[in-house]
């Protein structure tokens, strides 16, 4: 492990023990985030991307449980820490923005109360210094006249404003790593553009790393350096953003990209590309590749065997098409 690796996750496996069986929400997930880097984890609902972020933050609720793996933050295994030590990491070192700016702020406390709470807990500042810092933070995230707005309650603010407040809270203790779980999903497109520009700007300004969790490949293209594509709890493709968007290789990534309505100017409207079928039931996963049933390039072995994560052309791919031993003809 090199020094500039901030977060390294190895073989993370998270299970949910349900009455009807065990759901493997995340299976042998490995990735790393370097200092100042934006890593995006992309997947559709149920692919395990949010569970991954909650596992990293130690915020998993029962019946969810990390059964295997290591989460190393600057070389320290977060899974081995006590609750008390974990609290110190959260906020000071790693902080998180949640998807719903409407529900993740406390409606009966002012913005000031909520901002200074985390500042005072983590930075040991007195009330006045904390309030001053809170105003600075609101200024940083682009809230106009923060001295006045800080006395507001969340319901007095719009969705975009609340997401900015959430971001301000997350950034208030100078974290090295920001986990943004669908930060723009609940927002309008023009507000989404504002928030993404803000994240990019803050990354440049204070050099924090970002772990961006999203289902929207457009958002990824706008911000990320590297991309991890997840399907049914597993990494299926891992590469740089440029590689993924220029030449997606895994059939699922390819399908996902193709099915986005493009803004390109075309004379005729061709039907959108579709990935047929549906995500399999998590309680009844197929034996082989989870994507096999929907895959256009399915081979016999896909149904019976689970493909490992192959390293191909400096990316990682979970697909037999890239099996170096399979020979050229399978790939063409």
């Amino acid at each position: 492990m090199t020094d500039d690796m901030l977060l390294e996750v190895r073989d993370l496996t998270t299970d949910f023990e349900m009455k009807r069986g065990t759901v493997h929400a995340v299976i042998d997930m490995s990735f790393s985030v370097a200092k100042g880097e934006v890593l995006a984890i992309v997947g559709e609902s149920g692919s395990g991307k949010s569970v991954t972020s909650l596992s990293v933050m130690g915020l998993l609720q029962p019946p969810g449980r990390v059964v295997r793996g290591e989460i190393l933050y600057k070389g320290k295994d977060l899974l081995a820490l006590s609750k008390h030590e974990m609290r110190d990491i959260r906020g000071n070192h790693i902080s998180m923005i949640f998807q719903e700016p409407m529900t993740s702020l406390n409606p009966v406390l002012t913005i000031e109360d909520q901002l200074t709470e985390s500042i005072r807990t983590h930075m040991k500042l007195d009330k006045h210094a904390a309030a001053a810092r809170a105003i600075d933070m609101l200024h940083l995230v682009g809230i106009p006249s923060p001295e006045k707005r800080i006395k507001d309650y969340p319901h007095q603010m719009s969705g975009g404003m609340r997401q900015r407040v959430m971001t301000a809270i997350a950034l208030s203790c100078d974290p090295d790593l920001l986990i943004a779980d669908e930060p723009t999903t609940a927002l309008d497109v023009t507000i989404q553009a504002q928030i993404l520009a803000l994240i990019n700007e803050l990354r440049d300004k204070i050099g924090m790393a970002v772990l961006l969790i999203t289902h929207d490949l457009g958002v990824v293209a706008e911000t990320a350096d590297r991309v991890v594509v997840m399907y049914c709890g597993q990494v299926v493709e891992q590469a740089t953003a440029a590689q993924v968007f220029e030449r997606p290789m895994h059939p699922y990534t390819l399908g996902l990209l193709e099915s986005i309505p493009t803004m390109e100017d075309t004379e005729v409207d061709e039907p959108l590309y579709m990935i047929p079928g549906m995500v399999p039931n998590p309680l009844n996963m197929p034996r082989g590749c989870a994507f096999a049933a929907r895959c256009a390039r399915r081979m016999d072995r896909c149904v019976s065997e689970m493909p490992p994560l192959y390293a191909a052309e400096d990316r990682k791919l979970r697909c037999f098409l890239f099996d170096p031993e399979a020979g050229e003809e399978a790939r063409s």
């Binding site: 989404q192 504002q194 289902h215 293209a221 099915s259 803004m263 579709m274």
Partner: protein, 338 residues
């Protein structure tokens, strides 16, 4: 020219927000304000705007869930308001609605077969013994197996539920379907399936769509013409290609530029709008977009803040409501560059 299927004439919907001691309204939420629009038979009209711009209110007035505060809705050449309750009910059978959220728009206690057949039974469209066949036919039309009819909504995924919702809308054999953000709650790969299904059904059944969405990219695929709304007002209407190639209104441009592109090499300089959508409660008299407009410096004799610009035709079928373009008086002002 063909007779429009739907004509909205100066349609407005205001909601009272506050009243004084005597019960007189003191403050109004102008959800839809003086909106005029024609929808031709067989066309798909996309209505785009951000949350709170009134696009859903337009849809609800069209299906008779809201009564307009002012203005008229003409359907098949008749003024809906002038009809008797019975006639209106009959007429509204021809207009159906597909909802945004497939999780809350299906009754969890009914089987999907009952959900789809309920409108047929209530309106006595078919003799009892033919209903089952019809439901099977509708299930096939939306790509569901007819064997699923005895299952309950919770057994289906989001995309399948949306298909059930579509089958229910088709059960009334409508001419017009109002699609209120039918894919925004769905995953990307499922969105494509539902959008393609809606395109196919339009051809098969000769449907007309009013397709409501908050992003311009989804609408691009399915619409023939697109209208952009901002705070209760229609700011631009144009045929789809014209709108995407040559957007005129500053808000349309900002909306187009806000769509993320899936090509990092193309990370563009985008138009970032300042601030948030202002409140539709007691709006200022001028252009609704004036407070966020970045193009006002290009305007010389602007009365953006005091006078509402009218929607004018600047080129064939391309309407814009902005002082920068076209003739608010008689065509003297040309499109400026910015």
């Amino acid at each position: 020219m063909t007779e429009p299927l739907v004509q909205l004439k100066h349609l407005s919907k205001f909601f009272p927000v506050d009243t004084d001691l005597l019960g007189r309204t003191t403050s109004l939420l102008k959800a839809v304000d003086d909106l005029s629009l024609d929808i031709l038979p067989g066309e798909a009209f996309g209505l785009v705007g951000e949350s709170g711009c009134g696009k859903t209110t337009v849809g609800k007035m069209l299906v008779n869930l809201y009564t307009p505060t002012a203005g008229e809705i003409w359907y098949e050449g008749r003024n809906v308001a002038s009809l008797s309750a019975r006639q209106r009910r009959k007429l509204c059978c021809g207009i159906q609605l597909i909802f945004q959220d497939p999780y809350s728009s299906l009754n969890p206690r009914m089987t999907v077969g009952d959900i789809v057949s309920e409108p047929i039974r209530i309106n006595n469209l078919l003799p009892r013994e033919q209903i089952a066949d019809r439901v099977g036919y509708l299930f096939n039309a939306v790509g569901l197996s007819a064997n699923y009819r005895n299952r309950f909504p919770h057994e289906f995924s989001g995309g399948q539920r949306q298909r059930v919702g579509i089958a229910r809308a088709l059960a009334m054999q409508p001419r017009l379907i109002v699609c209120d953000e039918p894919v925004s709650a769905l995953d990307v790969s499922i969105q494509a399936q539902v959008l393609n299904l809606l395109s196919d059904l339009r051809e098969e059944f000769g449907l007309t769509y009013l397709f409501i969405a908050h992003g311009l990219n989804v609408v691009k695929h399915i619409s023939d013409r697109v209208g952009v709304m901002y705070l209760g007002r229609l700011v631009e209407v144009a045929p789809k290609r014209e709108l995407y190639r040559n957007p005129l209104h500053p808000y349309t441009k900002a909306l187009l530029s806000a769509i993320p592109v899936t090509n990092p090499a193309q990370r563009r300089k985008r138009i970032l709008l300042e601030g948030d959508v202002s409140s539709p409660i007691d709006p200022a008299p001028g252009c609704r977009f004036a407070s966020r407009c970045y193009a006002r410096s290009g305007c010389t004799s602007c009365d953006c803040e005091t006078n509402m610009p009218e929607l004018v035709e600047v080129s064939p079928d391309h309407f814009v409501s902005c002082y920068l373009f076209g003739s608010q008086d008689n065509g003297s002002r040309l499109a400026p560059r910015f």
